[in-house]
């Protein structure tokens, strides 16, 4: 076959990619699939329809979705402030955003739990004034996941916002648009795809998050028990097949959700002429 590709190194590059994917992603995942296939369909179904399992799926996905949505909103505002305004301590603030990436998640969980528990700094404030308890409730999971998800959103929106030509806002103003109209009709559509990407990353991270959540969640079965914890519990009871069945289901669900978000992303880009 004649080689017509102008980019050199196609074979080594694609070879390396496949080997990497196989060792890091595909082989471990197939191992999980094989393990879960030790169960027959009835057993598999029995595990999944277990009320405690179903409740934990609900807790995991609902709190990850809420947290990703909140992180997307506030991440947008933070990215906006970092790009558009100058204020003292901006660089320090900018560096702080990445901290959740580097911090061991367990440390984050313990710190959040200490602060938000009913006797903690913020927790006491909230419970005294509004009667809201954060730690050891599903709300605590959401708080932890926002903390974890925020940098994903900020770091995906920031470069796009930086690249956005400020002349388009001036153009909108010269055509008679108010600031709000310019924001909604001109800036937002340009930032939306990046925001959706940030949301998807925060969500994906949130669904799988374990370390920070278990310290603040209270881990009450049916109420604030997340799927990863349930898997660990099963493992500790030597129910390997059960654990892999739950893991497999979670994998499929996450994959479908990410596919949906990607579809949404594609639709937005297509509608706004970015494809």
């Amino acid at each position: 076959m004649p080689q017509s590709n102008i980019m050199p190194g196609f074979r080594p590059a694609i070879g390396l990619t496949l080997v990497y994917l196989a060792f890091i992603v595909l082989i471990p995942l197939s191992a999980m699939l094989l393990k879960s296939m030790q169960l027959n369909l009835d057993e598999y179904w029995a595990i999944l329809t277990n009320h405690r399992v179903q409740a934990s799926f609900r807790v995991s996905f609902v709190s990850a979705l809420i947290a990703a949505a909140v992180a997307a909103l506030f991440g947008f505002i933070i990215a906006w402030s970092l790009v558009r305004y100058t204020f003292p301590g901006k660089r320090l603030f900018d560096a702080l955003i990445d901290l959740p990436f580097a911090l061991p998640t367990a440390v984050a969980g313990i710190v959040l739990a200490t602060i938000y528990e009913p006797q903690g700094w913020i927790g006491k404030l909230l419970i005294d004034n509004f009667g809201i308890q954060v730690a050891y409730k599903p709300l605590g999971i959401v708080v932890a996941l926002i903390f974890i998800g925020l940098p994903f959103v900020v770091r995906t929106i920031e470069p796009v916002l930086q690249e956005l030509d400020t002349a388009i806002e001036e153009a909108a103003a010269s055509l008679g648009a108010t600031r709000l109209q310019a924001f909604i009709k001109v800036i937002l559509p340009n930032i939306l795809p990046a925001t959706i990407t940030g949301f998807a990353l925060a969500f994906a991270r949130g669904v799988g998050e374990y370390g920070s959540v278990i310290f603040i969640a209270g881990n009450m079965p049916y109420i604030s028990e997340i799927v990863p914890l349930l898997i660990i519990t099963k493992l500790e009871q030597y129910e390997y097949a059960g654990a892999t069945a739950i893991g497999m289901t979670m994998l499929i669900l996450s994959f479908l959700l990410l596919l949906l978000i990607n579809g949404l992303q594609w639709w937005v880009r297509h509608r706004t002429g970015q494809l």
Partner: protein, 347 residues
């Protein structure tokens, strides 16, 4: 007066961008703000538009003081150097933007918007691209869409910031011509910023020459070319030979027989086409040698070296029509006589 600017000052830190600028532009003119980069021309345009605030001074549009009005209330059309089209909108939606953001009371119906946008797109001859996105257009097409978008709100003045700056040479030539015709058709008072003197002379009905934040001269292109107010304008507009009588050129000019009793200054600026070249007569002490020449279409540009000139070695540039040059039958290294028809004198 359609646009009046009075006593505008603008500083960026210690840098003076505009120094007490006053300017009056009559209705219907197409004005070029011309100057080297950093002369403050874009800043002045942005202050007229309201995209930038002057430190002091006032801007009047159609007699109304708009100094404190934000850009959206000034009723101007602004065309940006890099088009600033909305990438996420089709060409149609870009042009319709100014109509759709109007307050509900003033907003035309959707049917009227459709009609108007198509009329504008036809005016810029790009209606067939109405459903494309800006990224799918060429530079010249984008600039014309940006113009249609600015015209959609029927601005009282049209302001263009280096409208041809980002285009390649041939597109730029077409677009210049096209803009001039469009201006004849619409007769909207327009100001465009440029650093290209040829462009200013070709397109504008009035040229304002700026340098270091000051207006050096304002007038019609022929005014500015034929009667430059000062040495800067003379140097900046078109090509010119500079002879400094205080320096080493006096001797040479004397030998060349160029010094006339009616000199009006110390420095003479001579346009290349005001230098007449003749084949040297053997009895004369010829003042120059032909070093090289270039074809510029209908004209030949001759590069002459001053004979026996001490000091400044800058060549003398002369221009003459092709056929005239052919009749002279000159070769490189030939000695020539020259005569200066006309000079602008400065002190």
């Amino acid at each position: 007066m359609s646009i009046t600017v009075s006593h505008i000052n603008k500083h960026f830190g210690a840098f003076t961008a505009l120094d007490n600028i006053s300017l009056e532009i009559p209705e219907g003119e197409l004005v070029a703000l011309l100057g080297p980069s950093g002369c403050g021309k874009t800043t002045l345009l942005r202050i007229i538009a309201g995209l930038e605030q002057a430190d002091d001074g006032d801007v009047f549009l159609k007699g109304d003081k708009v100094t404190d009005q934000p850009v959206k209330n000034r009723h101007i059309g602004f065309v940006f150097q890099h088009y600033a089209l909305f990438r996420h909108m089709t060409v149609f939606d870009n042009v319709a933007f100014g109509l759709r953001v109007k307050p509900r009371k003033e907003r035309p119906s959707e049917a009227e918007i459709v009609k108007k946008v198509h009329a504008l797109l036809e005016l810029v001859q790009l209606d067939w691209l109405h459903d494309r996105f800006p990224d799918q257009l060429s530079g010249g097409q984008r600039q014309r869409i940006a113009l249609a978008r600015a015209l959609a709100v029927e601005p009282s003045v049209l302001l263009l910031d280096e409208p041809f700056g980002a285009l390649d040479a041939s597109v730029r030539k077409d677009l210049r011509h096209w803009i001039r015709n469009l201006h004849h058709e619409l007769n909207v008072t327009s100001i465009f910023v440029t650093h290209d003197q040829e462009e200013a002379m070709e397109v504008a009905s009035q040229v304002v020459v700026l340098n270091h934040g000051r207006i050096e001269q304002q007038g019609s292109p022929s005014d500015i070319y034929d009667h430059p107010a000062n040495a800067f304008v003379s140097r900046f507009i078109g090509q010119t030979n500079i002879f400094d009588l205080d320096e080493h050129d006096t001797d040479w000019l004397q030998t060349a027989g160029l010094l006339t009793p009616n000199q009006e200054g110390k420095i003479a600026h001579v346009r290349p086409h005001d230098i007449v070249i003749e084949k040297a007569k053997p009895e004369n002490n010829s003042p120059a040698t032909l070093k090289d020449w270039q074809h510029l279409g209908g004209l030949i540009r001759l590069e002459l070296v001053k004979n026996d000139a001490n000091g400044s070695a800058a060549p003398v540039i002369a221009e003459m029509p092709n056929d005239q040059f052919n009749q002279l039958k000159l070769n490189r290294g030939d000695k020539v006589d020259l005569r200066i028809r006309q000079a602008h004198w400065f002190h």
